[in-house]
Symmetry: C2
Subunit: 340 residues, 2 copies
Amino acid sequence: MSAHSESGPALTMRDVAARLGVSPMTVSRALRGQRGIGEATRQRVLAEVAALGYRPNKRARELRSGGPNELIGLVVTNLANPFYSQLAVGLEQICVGYGARVMLGSTGEDPATEREVVADLVDRGVDGLVVAPAGHDHSHLGGTRLRDLPVVLAASPPMGIDVDCVLVDDFGGTREACRRLVARGHRRIGFLGLPPSLWTGSERFRGYAVALEEAGIALDERYISRHRGDSALAEEAAREMLALPDPPTALLTANNRNTVGALRALRDRTQDQEPVALAGFDDIELADMLHLPLTVVSYDPVELGRAAATLLFERQASTAPQPPRRVTIATTLVDHPAPR
Amino acid sequence: MSAHSESGPALTMRDVAARLGVSPMTVSRALRGQRGIGEATRQRVLAEVAALGYRPNKRARELRSGGPNELIGLVVTNLANPFYSQLAVGLEQICVGYGARVMLGSTGEDPATEREVVADLVDRGVDGLVVAPAGHDHSHLGGTRLRDLPVVLAASPPMGIDVDCVLVDDFGGTREACRRLVARGHRRIGFLGLPPSLWTGSERFRGYAVALEEAGIALDERYISRHRGDSALAEEAAREMLALPDPPTALLTANNRNTVGALRALRDRTQDQEPVALAGFDDIELADMLHLPLTVVSYDPVELGRAAATLLFERQASTAPQPPRRVTIATTLVDHPAPR
DNA sequence: CTGTTAGCGCTTTCAA
DNA sequence: TTGAAAGCGCTAACAG
């Protein structure tokens, strides 16, 4: 029977001190490896602590010392979205290196919920926040109400507020994908996108528009659909485009939901119909196992999470005010050929 | 300019009380909606609190009151795995209903890391833990060391410890999938599985074995491969099986990694080769868009997370000791036809 | 109904 | 090198 097996109310530093006939301060000093304590005493204390299985109360420690709580808040719309869960993984990777943990908050894309969640995380003592914002106005994240905590926005640049942010190269990635389609001879390229109110929506559309302009191809409203990222709507829009008298020979999709919709729309086309090329933002698991070839704009959300954490800890370390920084993650174009 | 715009050191209850000329207790009572305070006073206090943007310090409150911290720890191997991120979503859904938040810990499948993470979460004052364990011995989660906190194991039953757990019907789901293959006339069914040391590995294999036994089919070692869930290894194993003199006419895979491996192995088969049927545990996004038909054992990890949270809060509510409970989530068999 | 006292578990500050 | 006192922000317990 080891000494830990005793249960009951958690041990306090006083208990440990009492058993050793020393003051709590001695235990405290030994535990924190603070100098100004005899080596022999320290050993005796540490041995007793180990034997008792005593663990100091972090909350009390932080309350008194006023130091950082080594806690980062992560606010996302929906963790089931692989983009956000991978972001969380990257964030946590860096956090553990700083001895920090991640506290989670989901907003379900509702700005009001986001506000509450952020406030709650702040009340719980996070040292900083990574927020993938639900709305397009971010002034509620203003430093003042947040006890001047550092905030990093993810996947969207700050609007109405000056904070750091980490972004994906939405514009560059989409332009490159569109260029590839153009290089393969496509002139009628349909765009299935996100609403312009979303940063990603407007940036990815801009990539499409610029690539077409570079190729001397005029934008054609009939080939452009911009709605929320719902695969069913995207599928419908794709079907409509493909039913035009002069249908697009290629589709460019602004995110994986749109890509899925497009894939479904292309699913039932017969061999004798003109094949339609497809390129899209966001990689897709098993893309190489689909029944048709697919080109995707790929990037690493884990890296995005790491970048966000790094900005946060750097900001935390420096007391001097620094201008807001912006980190943009590169994308790569990946061709997934179809199985024969 | 609203009153919040003042920054500086966070306000305390004392500050609010001082401005109103009342005692901190009055503010405390008003804030918690405690009765035994005049309605007029309460309004006055709440108005001032709102005007000042004062937010009580939750950590101090919890330290003093000794009550629950409304915090649940979630320990998983890798949040990038959709199974775990969906589990997290379900857990959080229930938590918000109880005013609780989720603190995250990743183990990377390392039992030693798991131990540390769990200890850290406990030190940080979680009221309970949901753990998807990395190893197969769980005695380090024993109540004693955890300050008698409630623990719920996810996806694995407790070994060497008595706690609640939530499981997927690994056995039943696999048996059903295998039965379906048998019903379609298959007699030589290859199994691509997980090592028997994993609970899911042994249960899913058992489902396979029982279904075969029911059909009067003897197990054949040549058709059985049990390794870690790595799709490359699974692909290799599948290729070997298919190269046998009398190859299996169907493959049954024990998880999505194995399914992906099998799909890749089947990818390059030509039209004139015998088609090989495929069934597997875990649903796959876009399964209906693959180049071959696939039957999957589907279930809802979000539901698993909800169940875990529910067990946790129920256990927390009842002081009387209750025997460990086990919740098993049902699976359904889903047929994904291939596109033509 | 409101205020005072004490103390949650720990650490800062100061004294020995 | 060690200890005693005081208090982080808040609330239980007991006054008034």
